[in-house]
């Protein structure tokens, strides 16, 4: 191991950290290491923005998700102009081309309409309780503003994407939280008690891992009745995603617990007469926590992708619910997407969110365990 040793001897950061260890708590050290990783910090910041927007989604969106407008089918994204010191949209007039019966849109920037910030619009309940009708931006009555275009029924893709983020982003977190609880409990039980319990749990995990993920998800999801309420369906889809996602985590936790079981301090507390619960809760889980956080963070993107895929296939979330996967169903037809590329914008959101979660998870991992 001479080379590794040389590297360790010579890598200044490592030396610094070793000399710090006595003074700083483990979490402080991890935070420091994490902060050094610019890309991960950036990923974390973008995610914070994502989640803030999701929480304040009705405030951010100018239109409600089901505001139909038969005059604006597949309307292209509205251009923004900077006119007279205001961010404005240009007036649009719609005329029917009688020759081939298509709508022709003409933009007239002499008639500019500045965006109105913090203006009243449709009514909603902030956080589900506070009644409000103020929105981040609105356009004057009679004008239409589609920042990211409109869909087949003239609904605002921007508003729908923002509102869709609520389901798509939360299902990942909630699903992974359930996975973490399941995985930690079963993984700990498996690792700590060993024997028959371990055997049964491990065989069960192997069984679940021997079934292809997406087809299994699909089978579960297809078993849900079509006429379920949105909330119920959300709950079950989350449950399905986590029921299959906990296995990897359980294995990792088990491996950690097994490693801790042989350590001196565990032995010492056992000799001192501590109960199993005490040993698990005070000595093992806190140590495994950083590891659990890392694995969980890296699992969130796959949960998000899972929901998106299922909804895209028509067996996940279903309309009238709005999620990124549901929105992408509109983009299923090649002929539609080709001429209306903005329908793919929810896909960009998926990609960005998933990438950021990966960066964040990677940063967490490097911070928690710099040598792996």
């Amino acid at each position: 191991m001479a080379t590794t040793q040389v590297l360790l001897e010579k890598a200044g950061t490592v030396q610094d950290r070793i000399s710090d260890i006595g003074r700083l708590s483990q979490w402080t050290l991890m935070r420091r290491r994490f902060m050094e990783n610019r890309l991960s910090v950036a990923g974390g910041l973008v995610l914070i923005v994502f989640y803030l927007v999701a929480i304040f989604a009705p405030f951010v969106t100018p239109y409600s998700v089901d505001a139909l407008d038969s005059n604006s089918q597949y309307a292209a994204p509205t251009a923004l102009h900077f006119i007279n010191g205001h961010i404005s949209i240009c007036g649009v007039t719609q005329t029917l081309n009688k020759a081939n019966f298509t709508w022709v849109y003409t933009t007239d920037c002499n008639k500019a309409y500045p965006l109105q910030f913090f203006a009243p619009g449709y009514s909603y309940h902030l956080f589900g309780i506070i009644p409000m009708n103020i929105h981040l931006f609105e356009v004057p009555k009679g004008q239409k503003f589609f920042l990211w275009g409109a869909d087949s029924q003239g609904r605002d893709v921007f508003s729908r994407t923002i509102m869709g983020s609520r389901i798509s982003l939360s299902i990942g977190l909630v699903g992974v939280t359930l996975s973490v609880i399941l995985g930690s409990v079963l993984g700990t039980a498996s690792g700590y008690f060993g024997g028959a319990i371990d055997n049964v749990i491990q065989r069960f995990i192997e069984l679940l891992m021997s079934m292809p993920t997406l087809p299994l998800w699909a089978a579960f999801a297809a078993a849900l009745p079509q006429d379920m309420s949105v909330v119920k369906r959300y709950f079950f889809i989350t449950l399905i995603l986590s029921l299959i996602g906990w296995t990897g985590l359980a294995r990792q936790v088990r491996a950690k617990i097994l490693a801790y079981r042989t350590l001196d301090y565990t032995m010492a507390s056992r000799l001192a007469g501590a109960s199993s619960w005490r040993i698990i809760l005070t000595h093992m889980l806190p140590n495994a926590l950083s590891h659990i956080v890392v694995v969980a963070t890296l699992a969130v993107p796959f949960s998000i992708l899972g929901e998106t895929s299922l909804s895209f296939l028509g067996i996940g979330m279903l309309p009238p619910a709005v999620s990124w996967g549901v929105l992408l169903r509109d983009a299923q037809q090649l002929s539609v997407v080709e001429s209306h590329l903005w329908l793919m914008i929810p896909a960009l959101c998926v990609i960005l969110a998933v990438t950021c979660f990966q960066l964040l998870g990677d940063g967490f991992r490097d911070a928690a365990d710099p040598y792996s």
Binding site: A2, L214, A223
Partner: protein, 327 residues
Amino acid sequence: MVNYVLRRLLYMVVTLFFISIIGFFIINLVPGSALDARINQLRAQGGEVSYQEIESLKARYGLNDPIPVKYWKWVSGVVHGDFGESFTYQEPVGSLIWSRIGFSVLLSSFALIFTWVVAIPVGVYSATHRYTVPDYVITLIQFIGVAVPDFLMALILLVVASKFFHTGVGGLFSQQYQNAPWSWARVGNLLSHMWIPVIVIAASATAWTTRVMRANLLDVLNQQYVQTARAKGLREAVVIWKHAVRNALHPLIMTLGSLLPSLISGEVIVSIVLNLPTTGPLYISSLINKDMYLAITFLMALSILLVVGNLLADLLLAWVDPRIRYE
């Protein structure tokens, strides 16, 4: 070694048995199956023939039996090569699935080969050129590659192909070969159509595997035996490829267990977007239509594909790593 293989085979059969129970149970969760629909349809037709058929269907699938009895009837059929009937297609399941499963196996295997053929060299390059611009670029592409869901990749490719190259990429055959008998020309046509779905299916797996390979190799390059090899006077290429990569492959093969499910999942969803005649589209539609015998057969087929893949991976591992031989 033979013992090991036999034990693993036995274990595989047991696993598949349990999978069939779970799968059958899940697919039978919801009342209102395609079987009911078919019986209702026959009832509406009325007549002696219909009545007899209803009775035979009831007897065969134990319509009013509890799930365990239904399961037993189904399994006894499967053992004799009778997979049940697809009620939407009104055809035996057996006749519907084989060619589709064949294409699925073909696509998944090619995707796996593609994944490794690309991921290993790229991962090696990335690890041996750490902190250089190409390494950063590769890392960035990896992150995005993992982040783009398979079906999106397929969609994007469809759009790009039709917008910029004015060609369609759907299907596995050109029109004239669609129903033609097998010939070399048809195989060639298949291959020329297959590379796009293969790349799409393999994309995220490739990105992920590249990352694993890079991390593995970086670990191995710190090992003493790599330095030993250099100290012998070996060329760097030999040091890397003979001494380091061989050891870095070991954990890579271990991750096959999680790579295969993602490839098979990818195959299912990409086939739907690209409209390929594989298990994917039919499986999902059978689920939506509650065509349960078709669905369970596909689920079992995909599971077998996965379990056999895992077995092969374990054997490969035993071959690559002398330490686990004869265990």
